[in-house]
Symmetry: C2
């Protein structure tokens, strides 16, 4: 599969994070001739935070992580691609338990310090020994530099590996945040979008880390959609090794974490955007911002209704500035809207006013904008102060190709 | 455009309805070399009922019909295709007013006895004289038999005209119901699906007719979806000429209207199914029934979440019995579901139990079912007594072809 036309030019250079060592392996779960297992070993004392799908049919790995998370500590992360271990019943739980126990014994840690994630096909039993028999070999090759390999091992229909790094200063000490993720279909809000893993050498207590992660998720991963479909499996886990001895900060909302919050937002937004850029079949990266809504929640709902409209998405694929479909999506979003106050801008050009197209509307610059790869739609409702921005991609033949034949 | 592979073999034979005369014309609003105007002249005393889009950006014709409906009487219906006259501001209202006044004068009736509907592109001004200058010629050729011509004149991306006829007995008197409609994209519940027109020679007071129509809509048109997109324009209008002198029935819920209700449901369900069968790019007609939900509303919401899932729809297009995607859709529907009680049946074959595939699940008969044109998905939640059935089609390259280039 050729990389998405929206892919970044190159994989970024990720520095080591002291206390994080990575390795990958080949289990043959579904894919042949590629890696499908990723293990991260984490230093003693590493704190952990997580956000998970809100799906009521969550996978066995998600259920395990939810159980383990209150412990607040992590020594290992084990991720496989090719099988989501979701809707696999009792056997799915057994597979998780066997995997967790195996690595806990190898690393001599408590089982609730082992976090797991799986991505791939739903509903197919996953035999546990495929992973466990690879674990000793994989642990033997742990390295501080295997970021690119790790990002590749967790890919499914992704066409490029996704990662980012940023630095931040906490009370005078410089810390680093690395993140990588996978995801390109079944992408929708409600934290059900993908697998994402974030590592920092900062020293941050688990409850503070959790708050930072949850809040950043709302502004980043929960603002993207490819197809409105939410998965059973997906998870974002964040690990703080504390190997850089910054002075502790007790509150997530503290001014002293302002720069860290900014850097974390940056990391997560970059990962979220990379997922949209790898949206199945995507040829356009679309930013939809809504202002003037009754509330932030209303703005987000309207933005997502536009972002998930198959008619809007296919019009963008066809490079057609069909703003009538945007109007229709706004009208059915279920939030307050006034047809006659509504203003729509495409590529910065105002298109509508007073419940109709601008009297002297000239489509030329808008049509030129639609031919680009970055599409910008701005909606002003003129009702209140609610604002939101979401990101999506277009809906193309590529999406049908990929999803009309994924499983077989 | 070739007819949908799911189209009926032939257009049905519709008998005349005394008091209804139809004619079509060619205004050149958007289409060349085809009809795009349909006028129905209705006998004095005809009662009317209507249901309309819930979109907050409703079209000018919808706003007019809402205003005229409380009068309860109709003498004319004027419908055009090619331009929806939606989001056309003040000029859109003028176009409606000019059209209504012209026909009211020609037929010597009150303006609020004239009903209008428009379908096609959104946001393009529609000059009123294109229609009004055709009206005298069109009224000159009114006929009791032009059902097929009428159904054709209102088509947009439809690949076949849609109509149906049924008979019913009211207090010993046989009455007839004819209906026709258009619609194949921007199809979603909330009565925002299409244009539908239903005519009967029965004598039924307007408030009773309204109740019958509203209730039947919930069970029929509001149970279909093609793409989850709801239009600004769409309307179902029902006219009862009273030319058959059945004894009156004062209550819509009366036992004496039982047979009429059955026939009306039949008519509207047939029309609704025909719309799904003409879903843009459709190759499969899909029935999704949900039982055992907490309530009827919950069942409908779950059924629609499955029906609108792009991943489910593309899997069906690919003839892949990918029930994992059905599980995922159920899990994110926002209604109560218990993974381990859930049972999924495809083509009548049970696929899942106890949160996993059946231990001895044999995909052979299910795979054979997926190759057919009629796909049947049944979901048992095991929680309560809520039931609902919705209908949809698959999502194919054809949908992208049609909608990636519709306007231009």
């Amino acid at each position: 599969m050729a990389p998405s036309p929206l892919a970044p030019i190159a994989f970024p250079e990720l520095p080591p994070i002291a206390g994080v060592r990575l390795a990958v392996g080949q289990c043959g779960i579904k894919y042949q001739n590629r890696t499908d297992l990723m293990v991260a070993e984490l230093a003693h004392g590493t704190t952990v935070a997580g956000v998970f799908t809100r799906s009521l049919t969550a996978s066995a790995p998600v259920e395990w992580c939810r159980e383990a998370l209150p412990g607040g500590r992590a020594r290992a992360l084990v991720v496989n691609s090719g099988n989501a271990n979701a809707f696999t019943g009792y056997q799915g739980q057994t597979t998780v338990a066997v995997t967790v126990d195996a690595i806990a014994e190898l690393l001599q840690c408590a089982p609730n310090q082992v976090f797991v994630a799986s991505t791939g096909v739903i509903g197919q039993p996953m035999p546990p020994d495929l992973i466990t028999q690879q674990l000793p070999d994989v642990l033997a090759v742990l390295s501080e530099t295997s970021w690119s390999e790790a990002a590749r091992a967790i890919m499914t229909t992704d066409t490029f590996p996704k990662a980012v790094t940023r630095q931040a200063i906490i009370r005078g000490t410089t810390v680093t945040i690395n993140g990588f993720c996978k995801g390109s279909g079944m992408i929708a809000p409600d934290m059900a979008t993908m697998l994402g893993f974030i590592f920092t050498d900062a020293a941050i207590e688990a409850p503070v880390l959790q708050k930072l992660l949850s809040e950043a998720t709302e502004r980043t991963f929960n603002c993207i959609t490819v197809d409105g479909d939410t998965s059973t499996s997906d998870s974002v886990l964040m690990f703080a090794t504390g190997t850089v001895a910054n002075k502790r900060v007790a509150k997530a909302s503290s001014k002293r974490l302002e720069d860290f919050r900014r850097a974390l937002d940056d990391v997560m937004l970059s990962l979220a955007h990379q997922i949209v850029r790898d949206g199945e079949g995507a040829t356009k990266f679309v930013t939809i911002s809504v202002a003037g809504a009754e509330s932030r929640k209303a703005a987000k709902r309207i933005a997502f209704t536009v972002a998930n409209s198959p008619l809007v998405k296919t019009a963008i694929a066809g490079e057609d500035a069909n703003w009538g479909r945007i109007v229709a999506a706004i009208g059915r979003a279920g939030e307050k809207a006034d047809r006659d106050r509504l203003q729509i801008f495409i590529g910065g050009v105002q298109v509508t006013t007073d419940g109709a197209a601008l009297p002297d509307y000239d489509e030329t610059p808008v049509a030129a904008h639609m031919k680009g790869q970055e599409i910008d739609i701005r909606i002003e409702l003129g009702l209140g102060k609610g604002e939101a921005t979401v990101w999506t991609c277009d809906l193309t033949h590529g999406y049908i190709d990929i999803n009309g034949s994924y499983r077989s």
